[in-house]
């Protein structure tokens, strides 16, 4: 499609375009080169700290076509966010050049997440005639590591870990050939010049390298052994997903009792044999993020997966190979593997080799590693289809750093996030950038990763934050850190932050009715909140309604033992009659000593904080319905209630929510509902039907308060809205009644999204102060 040369010399014009967006590390410069040469334009393109700058010179029509095609022909994940244009004097120099980067200017270029292997690279890796046949580090401008290997910006090989590998002549030729898919592919490598595999034993002894290492790992996996594999964002632990004994061994060594493991299927066909996959879910599985997608497991494929992978769970977390390394290994195996983060539960995954050998020594039998370092670890991302949308539950590898437009952002704000499921965010210059999921800050390792993540975010985005945003909980590690830093502190109430995270994501400013339901968060009155209805607008909020508070005997112990919460709730229903009731006692699995001790704790308020939490109400229902009395992982009880409800044959209707008004404040009384749930359970009504009734009751409560408060826009956020059934029931009721409903899709609704809401609040607070 070579354009006709410009005949009229006077018609020659020159323009300069400054492009901001996902334009580095995605083959954008080669794309510009191709367009310009096809249109017969002269000029240059180069990466800058802020994005890409290009100048093109030629006749007006060609320039026009170039600009149209620049927007029209761009191929994801490349994306133009902003394009500034100015006219220049023509310089009358022929040819088009890709120039080396200009490191000046404020670094604000979009840092890309890691990209899963593309189709072209996949084809090459499996083509015996290709020089990259079976090479596990094959990448091109469309795929490969990005965030995980980036040390600075602009994105150039010299500022990534690929600087350790000098390109061979063949690779260099591709790199400089505009016709090649690897033209300016910064991660370009081949078997002659790139990273190599090594298979090691737990004592760090190299057993084999290259193809032999891959084969050795495959053999070990076939024999039921546990292999630690260095993936894109960190080490994963792999084991044969069909081998129950091997899965059990992994559980025991990882000290992970019952929390489901994710499974990697080698192909989409293998995935279809394990789970039901809709078109939307298939797209997510195959996307460049290659996340774990929570799917409904097929009941009709016995023997496919070991039952120990997701005990008692109708869902299965599936993912596709994200790299040629994973693709080759899975191809060699021919069966799916468990692929779980290389850590002990709750800690971040190990990313550094030395760290992996130290931390995973007692877990993995073998280590399949390589010499391409991971400088920015990121765990696997998690998505689930909720109310027609693929909803991100964990924003990590392939998705982070996640960029959200927020016009309120101006001066840099560093938001530190919550205490568990921590992730940090940086707000500045019209955007909020959410960093990758880090994990539970109770652990030493997580705190190290947290410090690293903050430093890297500020470096990549060139922002020394003047304001630090955090939660109001005085004992969150993040709050302590914010208070001890030099920057001004903006403390944001937990549930307000949840709602703001969804408002910022959806670009709405309110006032809205925010329904913030989660496990626990520090309330403005010093009690534990978690079933909140807030009016949110700008940086302010007002509590409009909440659930009737109840006691949590044992605090965090109650979070781990839903039966304790159930006792607190039943005490709310029956008062002291509970202690003498012979009928209620068998509902909960307590010994006589425990029963009387918990009685004292509740009666006397000993370490029995008061809460209005919706998540804990789920726990109480789980325990009363005998679905889960002891939780071995976060969210287990609530999930058990959801699964029971989903698979129930019918709905046992529970008495409608009772809303009690006290002046402006409304309180939802759950006691009649709970009394009926307990009665129905004792009367032998199936637990699933009662659980379904509970979901309907919750959705009714949301609609009731929406009516009472009368805001047109309703925002749902907080960990409870990871529950697909609850979210769908609530949305259906609200939308039918004419409300507009907003919720988190790209930002996790759980505490992983808190930092976004905190950054949003801080910017609004600053703007309100300065007017």
């Amino acid at each position: 499609m070579a354009a006709a040369p410009c005949l009229d010399a006077h018609a020659v014009q020159r323009i300069r375009l400054d492009v901001v967006g996902a334009v580095q590390g995605v083959g954008f410069r080669p794309f510009v080169y191709r367009l310009a040469t096809e249109e017969g334009l002269a000029g240059f393109v180069r990466n800058t700290g802020a994005g890409v700058t290009l100048e093109v010179e030629g006749c007006a029509e060609a320039l026009e076509r170039f600009q149209v095609r620049l927007r029209g022909d761009i191929r994801p994940p490349a994306r133009i966010q902003r394009l500034d244009r100015c006219s220049l004097e023509p310089v009358r120099q022929g040819g088009f050049a890709i120039q080396s980067s200009d490191a000046d200017g404020a670094p604000s270029a979009c840092v890309l997440p890691d990209l899963a292997m593309c189709e072209e690279c996949r084809a090459e890796v499996f083509d015996p005639a290709n020089r990259r046949y079976r090479y596990p580090f094959t990448t091109c401008t469309h795929c490969g590591p990005r965030y995980s290997i980036i040390e600075g910006i602009p994105y150039d090989r010299a500022r990534t870990v690929m600087r350790h590998f000098a390109m061979c002549p063949a690779c260099r030729a591709e790199y400089t050939d505009p016709a090649s898919r690897r033209f300016h592919a910064e991660t370009n490598a081949c078997p002659d010049c790139g990273p190599q595999l090594a298979l090691c034993d737990a004592g760090r002894n190299v057993l084999s390298t290259r193809g032999d290492a891959l084969e050795g790992a495959a053999t070990a996996l076939s024999e039921g052994r546990i292999v630690a594999l260095k993936g894109l964002g960190g080490f994963q632990l792999l084991v044969d997903a069909r081998n129950e004994a091997a899965v059990a061994r992994l559980r025991e060594r990882k000290r992970r009792l019952a929390k489901p493991f994710a499974v990697m299927a080698g192909s989409i066909d293998q995935a279809l044999a394990i789970a039901y996959v809709s078109e939307q879910e298939r797209e997510a599985l195959m996307s460049s993020a290659a996340p774990i997608v929570l799917l409904r497991a097929r009941g009709d494929s016995p023997g496919q997966l070991a039952p120990g992978i997701a005990p008692g769970n109708p869902n299965i977390g599936l993912m596709q190979p994200a790299t040629p390394l994973h693709g080759l290994l899975l191809e060699a195996l021919g069966f799916p593997v468990v692929a779980t983060s290389g850590n002990r539960s709750g800690e971040p995954m190990a990313a550094d080799d030395a760290e992996a050998f130290a931390r995973l020594a007692g877990i993995a039998d073998l280590f399949l590693t390589h010499d391409r370092p991971i400088v920015n670890p990121a765990d696997d991302s998690v998505m689930r289809r909720i109310a027609e949308d693929m909803t991100v539950l964990r924003c990590a590898r392939g998705l982070a750093p996640l960029v959200l437009a927020d016009p309120q952002q101006d001066a840099a704000v560093l938001a530190l996030g919550g205490h568990m499921k921590n992730a940090v965010a940086l707000g500045r210059d019209g955007e909020i950038v959410l960093g990758p999921h880090i994990g539970d800050l109770a652990y030493v390792e997580s705190r190290t990763a947290f410090v690293h993540s903050i430093a890297r975010m500020q470096q990549l985005y060139g922002a020394e934050a003047a304001v630090t945003a955090c939660d109001t909980h005085p004992d969150y590690h993040t709050t302590r850190l914010a208070e001890s830093g030099g920057a001004a502190v903006c403390a944001v109430q937990h549930h307000q932050a949840h709602i703001l995270s969804a408002m910022a994501e959806n670009g709405i400013s309110g006032p809205v009715l925010g329904v913030a339901w989660d496990g626990t968060g520090f309330g403005a009155d010093g009690t534990v909140w978690g079933g909140e209805f807030l009016e949110v607008e700008g940086s302010g909020y007002r509590r409009l309604a909440h659930f009737l508070p109840f006691r949590l005997p044992g605090g965090e112990a109650a979070v781990k033992e839903p039966r304790r919460t159930a006792l607190g709730v039943l005490h709310g229903v029956y008062g002291s009659a509970l202690w003498d009731s012979d009928a209620l006692r068998p509902l909960l699995d307590f010994g006589p000593g425990e029963w009387s001790m918990l009685r004292s704790m509740i009666d006397r308020g000993v370490n029995a904080s008061v809460t209005s939490s919706a998540g804990r109400l789920f726990d109480a229902v789980a325990a009363i319905l005998k679905l889960c009395q002891h939780a071995s992982f976060d969210g287990e009880a609530a999930m058990a209630v959801e699964f029971a409800a989903e698979s129930a044959a019918g709905v046992h209707r529970l008495p409608r929510p009772v809303v009690v008004s006290d002046g402006e404040m409304r309180c939802i009384d759950w006691r009649p509902m709970l009394a009926e749930a307990a009665d129905a359970c004792m009367a032998g009504i199936p637990a699933g039907e009662i659980a379904a009734g509970f979901h309907h009751w919750l959705a009714d409560a949301i609609l009731e308060i929406a009516w009472h408060t009368g805001f047109q826009q309703v925002v749902l956020s907080g960990g409870c809205f990871q529950n697909a059934l609850l979210t769908e029931l609530a949305m259906a009721r609200l939308q039918e009644a004419g409300f507009e409903v907003y919720r988190n899709i790209r930002v996790p609704p759980n505490d992983g999204g808190l930092a976004v809401g905190q950054a949003a609040c801080a910017a609004r607070r600053m703007n309100e102060v300065t007017g």
Partner: protein, 327 residues
């Protein structure tokens, strides 16, 4: 109320109760001040007030607590106590019998620690304006360690030793106050720690730092040292002595024994080559004494990590222990 007016009745309170209990020489407690022979060298000086509820608990009462508290604070400075003062704020109508009992246990505690109560004060407040009795004790001690004992002396490699199992005092107080019938009952560890500390000094063990594990428990005490000294510590969960009854009580109450108060327990930080000798001394006094951790070469300054089978936890100073951080 007449007991506090400074007249005959106060005189009778002192003559009847405190003097017989405390006075060892005819001059003790006869003036508003006491004359004390001071040894040469450094002095240690401490003061603390006691408002514990209940006043009586298994293993002690507010009196023994007040004396042991002052004695222990002096011991933690590497000092041998010389004398104490005691100030009482007594609620009108408080039973004389209980006051006598408290005075008695103060005297036995003082005797056990080898210290004299040389001066004191009593005030009576209106009924309803106090919880029976409050006690303040102050004390002077003579420093007997050759080198200073303070967080500034802590060095990487130092071993962290606890003088015995932790959490008994706090759980005993809570059980009595909240009428939690633990079976068997948990007995407070309230005791003077003077003797073990003096023995450590006699055995020429270089003591870098000593800290009693009172309010906030072991975790808070070590975090405070780590932050003052600017070091990182690593504790092994399995090495920390907790008696089975305390462990069981903490489990059901949802409390962490590392944060529960003690009254007769302390932590000693000593150089690695002295750790075994120090442990041997402490085990003479309480067989549950244990080496529980190390001051690290690396690690976040001011941090205390707890290594468990399920991973390493970072301990925090807690403002509100009762509010969960799990979401």
């Amino acid at each position: 109320l007449a007991h506090g007016a400074g007249g005959l009745l106060t005189h009778r309170l002192i003559e009847d109760i405190f003097r017989p209990a405390f006075a060892q020489s005819p001059e003790d407690l006869t003036h508003d001040g006491a004359l004390v022979d001071v040894p040469s060298g450094q002095l240690a000086f401490t003061t603390d007030s006691y408002v514990v509820q209940p006043l009586f608990f298994p293993g002690g009462d507010i009196g023994s607590l007040a004396v042991n508290g002052a004695v222990n604070d002096l011991a933690m400075c590497g000092a041998r106590p010389v004398c104490l003062s005691a100030g009482f704020v007594i609620e009108e109508g408080f039973p004389i019998r209980d006051l006598r009992r408290i005075a008695g246990s103060m005297q036995s505690a003082a005797q056990a620690a080898g210290v004299r109560l040389v001066t004191g004060d009593t005030k009576v407040v209106e009924h309803g304006k106090g919880d029976g009795v409050y006690i303040n004790t102050s004390g002077i001690g003579a420093v007997v360690t050759p080198a200073p004992v303070s967080p500034a002396q802590v060095r990487p490699g130092d071993r962290i030793i606890v003088s015995g199992d932790i959490g008994r005092h706090g759980m005993a107080i809570m059980a009595t106050r909240e009428r939690l019938g633990f079976e068997p009952p948990i007995v407070s560890d309230c005791a003077p720690v003077m003797s073990p500390v003096l023995r450590l000094i006699e055995e020429v063990i270089p003591l870098h730092c000593l800290r009693d594990l009172t309010r906030g428990g072991l975790a808070t005490a070590l975090l405070e040292i780590a932050q003052t000294a600017g070091v990182a510590m690593l504790l092994e969960q399995s090495d920390i002595p907790v008696s089975p009854p305390v462990r069981g009580a903490c489990e059901i109450l949802g409390l962490d024994p590392l944060y529960v108060a003690n009254e007769g327990r302390f932590a000693a930080l000593v150089p690695p080559d002295a750790a075994v000798a120090a442990l041997a001394v402490l085990r003479d006094f309480d067989p549950s004494a244990a080496i529980i951790g190390t001051v690290e070469e690396a690690g976040a300054v001011g941090s205390v990590a707890l290594r468990t089978l399920g991973g390493s936890y970072a301990l925090d100073l807690l403002a509100c222990e009762q509010l969960p951080r799990i979401c």
